[in-house]
């Protein structure tokens, strides 16, 4: 059913995107060894988990994957505490990579520990499932829309922590989500599934910069840029970052000069002008050249912008009227004003 070849890096987060029913869950279950109908080859960091040709099939419990499934799948006969302890106890203390207390507090589970599963809300169940998988100290983490039932603030909170924890653990992660900002925050690598096949795969900036992918994403189209911290502006709590497309001012980051950094810029947050702008609340203005334009709808179009000497691009979503007013054509030089820049660690 699923006919896919995926090469994901052996560390860092790989985002897995795709329409409903495109085979994301099927793929994760195959990697976890839960789907006996999965054929082919699964190799993780040099270890072969599954090789149909060679008759190798490592049992799921020996793969050491942590799997946060779409439905949480908590054990109904156990309390929250015992659900969390289930994987934790099965790892020898020497091999544990996360503290019980740390995970429980981060996911705000302390007040829930003695609850039974049937009385948890949807978001609470998801938090327990995440904690349970992490406490098992997996060597590969599979997360299937792990924060879909969380409200915006707790989602931010959970993702921030997740980001930090994953960096520390250096386990490879495959992360399914329908939210681009979620994936862009965590992932270095992106795979886009369509109808059980890989539609596109590569680094985040590669995949996001592709127009057909951007078109599919709709409101959430955008790019990520890799940069370095150039200076701090302590007074206003800001930081200046150099990127291949120019300098960007972002919220203050407590990090040494020269630290690498990734930022995300949504196409809808980019406006274009022909003249430099003064006395505006927009701090970021980049001088770029239009490379292509594509119509998104009768009213809107997407502009791809670049700069001499780099293949990195910026996407801007503007109205067709503006395009006409500004007479935008490939080759034209413009000022791209970036309203907001999200830092992706």
């Amino acid at each position: 059913m699923l006919d896919t070849r995926i090469d994901a890096p052996g560390r860092g987060v790989t985002g897995l995107f795709g329409a409903s029913g495109s085979g994301k869950t099927t793929l994760l279950r195959g990697i976890a060894g839960l789907d006996t109908e999965t054929h082919g080859l699964v190799q993780v960091n040099d270890a072969t988990w599954q090789d149909e040709a060679a008759g190798v099939f490592l049992a799921p419990h020996e793969r050491g994957v942590g799997y946060v499934s779409q439905d949480a799948d908590l054990f109904p006969h156990l309390s929250v505490r015992d659900n969390l302890a289930y994987g934790f106890r099965r790892v020898s203390p020497a091999r544990r990579r996360l503290e019980w207390k740390e995970v429980v507090e981060w996911l705000a589970l302390t007040p829930l520990l003695d609850r039974t599963i049937d009385h948890l809300s949807g978001g609470e169940r998801q938090r327990v499932a995440i904690a349970r998988a992490l406490l098992a100290s997996p060597t590969l983490l599979l997360m299937d829309e792990p924060v879909s039932a969380l409200d915006e603030p707790s989602r931010r909170d959970v993702l921030d922590h997740l980001d930090r924890v994953l960096a520390r653990l250096s386990v490879p992660v495959i992360y399914v989500s329908h939210s681009l900002s979620e994936v862009a925050k965590l992932a270095a690598h992106l795979v886009w599934l369509t109808d059980g096949k890989v539609g596109d795969a590569g680094s985040v900036s590669q995949v996001l910069g592709r127009l057909d992918f951007a078109r599919w994403r709709g409101e959430e189209m955008g790019v990520v840029l890799d940069g370095q911290i150039r200076s701090h502006e302590e007074t206003y709590h800001l930081t200046v970052v150099t990127t291949p497309l120019g300098e960007l001012t972002i919220h203050h980051r407590r990090a040494a000069l020269g630290t690498p950094l990734r930022v995300q810029i949504f196409a809808r947050d980019v406006s274009l002008g022909l003249a430099a702008q003064e006395r505006s609340s927009i701090l970021n203005e980049l001088r770029l050249r239009v490379t292509d334009l594509v119509d998104l709808s009768p009213s809107d179009c997407l502009v791809r912008l670049g700069r001499e000497g780099t293949s990195v691009v910026l996407l801007a979503r503007i109205t067709r009227k503006s395009r006409a007013l500004l007479a935008l054509e490939p080759g034209r030089d413009v000022f791209a004003r970036v309203k907001s820049v999200a830092v992706l660690d």
Partner: protein
């Protein structure tokens, strides 16, 4: 007729040991039935239920013939140095187990089928081996099935009569059980004694069952 208290002891032992053997043996069988992809499954299911259709005395008769010292199974068994099965406590257990098997296997099979596979999957990704997840997920979730299996198996063994009579030979102190003693009281027209025994048996069983069910209610697994 004096009441021989050894009867109660033998009965309790028989029902206890039989239930234990049934649960211990029925559990893997039921689990196998639940998980197997084998085409033999319906045949095995049918075989398990089969002893039921024979009247217990008839089943007892055939067991006697098969397990007896000249029987097909008995002669081989004794040839291998096994103790005599007929007219002994082990023989009673064998007969009772066979006869009550479906009452244990079927509820367990149903209970195991009701365990969501995705929970077993979740346990696997948390590092639990098949045996481990059977023990920590399937067993606890199948608890109502075990309760039913144990009560049906136990009660059925206590009340069973024909198999035990034929295989056991109703030997006082060794294979004489309450059901036979009770029946013989009635046959011998010792009605008052029979009534006392029957009433005690019912009252005792009622309170045991009541306790079991009431306790069970307390520890019910939340339903999702």
């Amino acid at each position: 007729m004096l009441f021989d208290w050894r009867i109660v002891v033998v009965t309790a032992q028989l029902a206890g040991v039989t239930t234990l053997v049934l649960l211990i043996g029925g559990t893997p069988l039921a689990w196998w039935l639940t998980r197997t992809q084998s085409r033999m499954r319906p045949a095995v299911e049918a075989l398990v239920a089969l002893p039921l259709v024979l009247p217990p005395t008839v089943l007892g008769f055939y067991l006697l013939v098969l397990l007896g010292p000249v029987g097909v199974i008995g002669s081989v068994w004794e040839g291998m140095g096994g103790p005599r099965l007929v007219f002994s406590f082990p023989g009673l257990v064998v007969g009772s187990v066979l006869y009550s098997l479906p009452f244990v296997v079927q509820p367990l099979h149903n209970a195991f089928r009701a365990v969501p596979p995705r929970l077993l999957d979740a346990a696997a990704t948390l590092g639990a081996s098949p045996l481990d997840r059977f023990r920590t997920i399937a067993l606890p979730l199948a608890r109502p099935g075990f309760l039913t299996a144990a009560t049906l198996g136990f009660a059925h063994t206590v009340g069973e009569f024909g198999v035990v009579l034929l295989i056991g030979g109703n030997i006082p102190g060794r294979t004489e059980v309450l059901s036979i003693a009770l029946y013989n009281r009635i046959e011998a027209l010792h009605y008052p004694q029979a009534h006392v025994i029957a009433a005690s048996l019912l009252a005792f069983s009622f309170f045991v069952l009541l306790t079991v069910y009431a306790l069970n209610r307390r520890f019910e697994t939340p339903r999702l």
